[in-house]
């Protein structure tokens, strides 16, 4: 934990009318880790993730990426800084090929005049998509298969592969296995580890405590808009996590 934080939120506040969704929250992600972000409903997880991925803006506080203060005005601005989000509802176009989905919004064009006229370099897109899927051990019949023909687990994998393609720093994943069966969940968790092994930090939002214990290197716990605990994998237990989520203690504790 001595290395420099990759992404850091400092004293971030966000109010919606009278509701203090985030009440001076701190949050830290270190390079190359899977960091679980947990908390009861209304603890402010979603708001924090929205702010850190550019979908919402804080009222107060600062966000630091690799030690430098950054402004994440839009999701696109965050993406350009290497921060991506895999949404719970799978932001994929089902009728498009997996490879087209990977490159949607960042298509590879043909070189020269044809490219300037708007012609796609589909062969290169397929090739690079195949590489990306191979790198992450995602198995598809072919990158040209439409997403609608894939299973739920495969779709989630394509969504994660897409995020890992464009984000080189942090990927936020909001309940990535919520809709999946046991086998598929296992495969997606493996994929998340592979993403981490590529050197991309993963922030995992999950309500599933055993899953958090299984996969996270570190856990940060939010309660009522504040961080109440930071727990290392070695020190984490389901009882401990649940206690941290629900405890009355407002004092931030660190378990290592």
């Amino acid at each position: 934990m001595s290395s420099m934080p990759l992404l850091e939120a400092r004293n971030v506040r966000r109010r919606f009318g009278q509701v203090h969704a985030l009440d001076g929250v701190n949050f830290t992600v270190y390079p190359g880790e899977i960091c679980a972000l947990i908390g009861d409903n209304g603890a402010g997880k979603s708001t924090l993730v929205k702010i850190l991925s550019g979908a919402d803006r804080p009222d107060e506080g600062s966000i630091l990426l690799e030690g430098r203060e950054v402004s994440l005005a839009t999701p696109l601005a965050a993406q350009e800084l290497g921060i991506a989000t895999v949404y719970q509802d799978l932001a994929l176009a089902p009728d498009l090929a997996a490879s087209d989905n990977l490159f949607l919004g960042r298509e590879i064009m043909l070189p020269g005049v044809l490219g300037r006229l708007g012609f796609l370099n589909r062969r290169e897109m397929r090739r690079r998509a195949a590489q990306q899927f191979a790198r992450l051990s995602v198995r598809l019949r072919s990158p040209g298969v439409p997403v609608s023909a894939l299973s739920g687990g495969q779709r989630q994998s394509v969504a994660i592969a897409r995020a890992a393609m464009w984000a080189d720093k942090v990927i936020f994943m909001d309940e990535p296995t919520a809709a999946l069966g046991v086998m598929q969940t296992g495969r997606v968790l493996d994929l998340i580890r592979q993403v981490r092994d590529q050197g991309i930090a993963v922030v995992l939002i999950s309500h599933n405590m055993s899953q958090v214990i299984e996969i996270a290197d570190r856990v940060e716990v939010l309660r009522l808009g504040k961080r109440v605990a930071r727990i290392d994998r070695a020190a984490a237990s389901i009882e401990g996590l649940v206690a941290a989520m629900t405890s009355a203690s407002a004092q931030e504790e660190t378990l290592q």
């Binding site: 994929l92 498009l96 960042r106 198995r139 894939l150 299973s151």
Partner: protein, 358 residues
């Protein structure tokens, strides 16, 4: 599993995980591919075969086949625009009315330039410059109506069905106001003789134009970023927006393109009939929608092709022509078309269900 010569089986020597059951091709998928692709072409070929065999001299004559193509030309240009709109999960009911409006302003502009009085009948003198102005006016008018539709759909978020139903009324009404309800019956001689009845290497000019439009549109839809974004918008607009596709701009452009093609169809229409045809396009919207849907484009967006639309355009035209030649009352064509349309949409839904596999 050994059936699935996976793409990655080779690329990845030691896969740490294999994602998911991968049935290479189930019978359901084969069925869906068949009903998704081939059946409407088979239907068209069967119709042609039946009519050709029953009346080879009449149906198969060069004249009849040429007339089939000419009849299809204007509808095809309209349907190409409609294909882009439906692929992006929209619908354009205003095409026929936009055609009428564009043909009226275009014909009036050409009349005004040649200095002919409003009630002139027949043809007027005027060179390619006059025709060119008329074409530009028609294209601009069509594109403006399309952009109007697109702006309301994209920015005001009014359902396209309502937006284009409204602009249908407005465009048709304004065309009638501009003309007092009487067609403009004089167009430049050059337009009629060179475009309307003219030929290029023996092929009617109208057919040449429609072919060029269809080929260019197919290239744009299937090979360019614009086409990919049209599919993406129709498949999952929210995903497209989050991916950085400029959603509103794309929607506006798609409707403007559709309108502009209606403007081109307007010029083709006045060239062919040497008059505006204010009351002749009430059914165009439904004809184009059924052609597009028959061609395998999904009404729910995200799936479609121009070649399908070309086939879809010919079905009603061949049916009508064949019925006339066989002596079947042509009213039956309307009945047959209705049945075929319902069948097409049913198959589209069936296709979706099999693809989603549940």
């Amino acid at each position: 599993m050994n059936r699935m010569k996976s793409f990655f089986g080779r690329a990845d020597a030691e896969p740490r995980l294999a994602l998911e059951d991968d049935p290479t091709q189930t019978p359901r998928e084969r069925l869906s591919r068949f009903i998704g692709g081939g059946w409407i072409l088979i239907l068209l070929l069967a119709l042609v075969a039946v009519f050709w065999i029953s009346r080879p001299a009449q149906f198969g004559s060069a004249y009849n086949l040429t007339m089939l193509a000419v009849n299809a030309a204007i509808l095809l240009v309209l349907s190409v625009g409609q294909t882009f709109v439906i692929v992006s999960a929209g619908i354009d009911l205003s095409l026929g009315a936009v055609l009428v409006f564009s043909s009226v302003v275009s014909a009036q502009a050409m009349l005004w330039i040649t200095g002919s009085p409003a009630g002139t009948f027949g043809t007027t003198p005027g060179g390619w410059d006059v025709v060119g102005v008329g074409l530009v006016v028609a294209l601009a008018s069509g594109a403006a109506w399309g952009a109007f539709n697109g702006l309301l759909v994209a920015l005001a978020r009014i359902p396209p069905l309502i937006v284009t139903l409204g602009s249908l009324g407005m465009a048709l009404g304004l065309a009638q106001i501009l003309t007092g309800g009487v067609d403009v019956r004089a167009v430049p001689d050059l337009l009629v003789t060179q475009i309307g009845t003219g030929t290029l290497f023996g092929i009617p000019m109208l057919v040449v134009i429609a072919c060029v439009v269809a080929i260019v549109a197919a290239v744009v839809l299937h090979l360019t970023r614009f086409g990919l974004h049209a599919f993406a918008v129709g498949s999952n607009a929210e995903a497209a927006r989050r991916s950085g596709v400029r959603l509103r701009l794309r929607v506006i452009t798609i409707y403007a393109l559709s309108g502009m093609l209606a403007g081109l169809a307007a010029t083709m229409s006045i060239a062919r009939f040497s008059t505006t045809t204010i009351n002749g396009h009430a059914m165009d919207n439904l004809s184009t929608i059924s052609a597009v849907v028959l061609g395998g484009t999904s009404l729910f967006g995200g799936i479609g092709s121009i070649i399908g639309t070309v086939i879809g355009v010919f079905i009603p035209i061949v049916l009508l022509n064949g019925f006339v030649i066989l002596g079947i009352p042509p009213f039956w064509q309307t009945v047959a078309m209705g049945a075929v349309l319902i069948l097409a949409v049913w198959i589209d839904q069936l296709k979706r269900r099999t693809r989603q596999g549940s």
